[in-house]
Amino acid sequence: MGLDRDFAAALAEVVGPDHVRQSPGDLAVYARDATPLFHHPPDAVVFPATTDQVARVLQLATAYRVPVVPRGSGSNLCAATVPLRGGIILALTRMTQILEVSSEELLARVQPGVTTARLADAAAARNLLYAPDPGSRTTATVGGNIATCAGGLRGLKYGVTRNYVLGLEAVLPTGEVVRTGGRLWKDVAGYDLTRLLTGSEGTLAVITEATVALLPAPAESNTGVAYFESLADASRAVGAIISSGIVPATLEFLDRKCVAVVEEYAGLGLRLDAGALLLFGEDGPLEVVAGNMVRMRKICAESGALEVTVAADVARAEALLTARRCSLPALSRLGSLTILEDVTVPRPRMPEMVGRIDEIAERFDLQIATFGHAGDGNLHPTCVLDPDDEAAVERAHKAFAEVFRTAIRLDGTITGEHGVGAAKLPFLAERLGPAQLGLLRRIKSAFDPAGVLNPGKLGS
């Protein structure tokens, strides 16, 4: 297709000719993100360096009616950054400054292209904690985290990204710059646009700066491992831990298949014969951590754990968490097409959901491994298959449709943290119902009357 000549020239004038790419090779690499099976090249990739450049690019795009897809690191798993209708990819990877870290106000101000890990490290250097902790933290950007409202390994105790966004600077498709929220913990003037933009998946505005809340870093932390006969047993231990009044910092599980591949990658000496592994962890003052680790250990044993161990030191605890973070890519060792999904159900219904996933996998003759954030009921059933086996790919689509419907039926949702993107848009109506969907669309057109921001995604 290609871009209108005048439009392309105007873009080059805004960001500089070196920062507009239009060659076939450059377009090919922006045709996909971390989501398998979705693929469509943009007509150009634009790399702005400032808010003002973002504003001018958006203004132009609206004037010329060209789709714009904002992009951080492209690590999302729902085809949120695949430019389904072409247009431009607005890559925010040049906006990477940490503008401020304040110990007194407990906040940081960053540009959108900063990775989550860099923000967390900058906070840690001041003995502060940036709590959101997605598995993709070393790669994913803060802008992408906010736009997807990323969750992560600390979700149960600390909440997800939205709990930490205090204020945003964002550019509307019309080129107007808005500053929502700010540096205050208390501020109720107006609709809460900060929350609305958090999780908006690049369909309402482009985030150009974020102010996020930090916490004092916990003095201590530790992680332990419990092995169970089955995932259902592990889920019961999770229920027992939470009913006992503990809100652990980490409560993650992996099934047998996940343990095997994670072990292959990380070589931690994990036990391979158990049906499920539960990682439990706590952070806080020394006595609290020590006490809660002992209690959780005991609860696991009483819930029928085959074996329970607690990490001997910080390095070992961190290694366990790192291994857990890489479950998805490690799973691809089983087959080169790895479709990871993301459903959440109320915690007490987790054993039932896990059972249903197993049953669905068997019925469709598929290999589905499951891991997830046990503490908040967020499951990642992951199907591993051969991409050339078209029949199996077809069966996987059908199987996942059933998984989503099952989650909805169990009072759950079709995505707990990864977002809807293009991949799950067909299921959104079932989750939200017609009235809410209609409202979503009206909100979308209020922000983006020309419909240029990330078309084919939320609000479409």
């Binding site: 045709a31 890559a91 060792r333």
Partner: protein, 364 residues
């Protein structure tokens, strides 16, 4: 078929490798990331991109081949192999950069490699004792003859077969894997038994073709041969402060990084550079083929070395040694770059602070 399908299929585009890649750090552009380059390879394989696509050509040469993307990839993508296959295709015949062609032609001639021995005093032994033998390295014997001498000082029994060519790593990394493989095999025949090398790049290449057990990179060999203790190296009456620059292929290809640190710690105060594991920009022929990019990477490295306040920076690969020396000299730095073997010899002779050693009269 340009690529082995299982190798290409392995990548699931998760992007875990992005933060490890030095060229992605420079540009922030997907095309210059490992994941992006794998996408380019796929597009080449399927014909979606024509062979003469400019981005393909640019990225095949912009990549350092440092393989920093390998150890961080949970899916186990063998990027180094993919890059070799890519360059085999991209750099066929006349499309190979001229300077690479000249170098490759030179090192493939054993008689030419023996010439430096006439003027430069690299290590030599008369008869082969049949034990492990020391590789002289095609570039190293000419540029840094004292490195092989240092190894022989540390391990006097080591054999140095006089007739040895080049292992072919240079060919493999510059678009001629077939020659690279053949040369490695010939090299293995010329030096039967364990081969000890002072170059991380050669070690990784030989290990790939002769099998890991036959290859011992010097630091591994020293640890196993137990050449310590050597005494503590002191500077101005205090223990010397010494940093290490990892060899990319040694660390990312063979997983060897503890041993050189252990050896340095045994003789000096070890200082970890924040980016010790990141490429210095030498990257085989990279500093010759892409001097500007190479210099950019090196500049940051030298800043770091100077900020670390060290007396020595140690390399375990001749290319890195050359690169670091050039960078330090340009800044008139007082930090000295040495090969690990040289450092150990200096320590064992304890000739500091005047830095007059029998090793210093030759070499660059």
């Amino acid at each position: 078929m340009i690529f082995a399908k299982p190798l290409l299929d392995r990548c699931i585009s998760c992007g875990y490798c992005l933060p490890a890649c030095p060229t992605y750090a420079m540009t922030g552009e997907e095309a210059s990331s490992p994941r992006g380059r794998i996408s380019l390879m796929r597009a080449l394989e399927t014909g979606e991109l024509p062979e003469d696509d400019g981005t393909l050509a640019e990225q095949a040469s912009f990549c350092l081949g440092c393989r920093a993307c390998e150890p961080v990839c949970p899916a186990g993508v063998e990027y180094g192999n993919l890059l070799e296959q890519w360059r085999d295709h991209q750099w066929r015949g006349g499309r190979r950069p001229l300077r690479a062609r000249l170098l490759m032609a030179a090192v493939a001639r054993p008689w030419l490699l023996r010439l430096p021995g006439l003027v430069r005093r690299h290590a030599r032994t008369a008869a082969s004792a049949g034990g492990p033998s020391l590789m002289l390295g095609c570039a190293e014997r000419a540029l840094f003859p004292r490195v092989s001498r240092a190894v022989r000082t540390l391990v006097p029994g080591l054999t140095v077969p006089p007739r040895q060519g080049c292992c072919g790593a240079l060919h493999a990394h510059n678009g001629d894997s077939a020659a690279g493989e053949r040369m490695a095999k010939e090299f293995g025949e010329a030096l039967p038994g364990t081969i000890v090398t002072t170059s991380g790049g050669c070690a990784a290449h030989l290990a790939a073709h002769l099998g890991r057990p036959r290859v011992r990179e010097a630091s591994e060999f020293f640890v196993e041969a137990d050449v310590l203790p050597l005494g503590t190296l002191s500077v101005d009456g205090r223990p010397a402060r010494v940093a290490l620059q990892d060899s990319c292929h040694l660390r990312n290809g063979l997983g060897v990084w503890r041993q050189p640190r252990e050896l340095i710690r045994a003789v000096a105060e070890y200082v970890e550079l924040p980016s010790a594991a990141a490429c210095c920009g030498a990257a085989g022929t990279y500093s010759i083929l892409r001097p500007r990019d190479s210099a950019r990477i090196l500049a940051a490295k030298i800043d770091e070395i100077e900020a670390a306040g060290v007396d020595y920076v140690v390399a375990v690969n001749p290319g890195c040694l050359r690169q670091l020396r050039a960078g330090l000299r340009k800044r008139r730095s007082r930090v000295e770059a040495v090969h690990l073997a040289e450092l150990l010899v200096i320590a064992s002779k304890q000739v500091r602070p005047d830095r007059q050693t029998d090793l210093s009269e030759s070499g660059s």
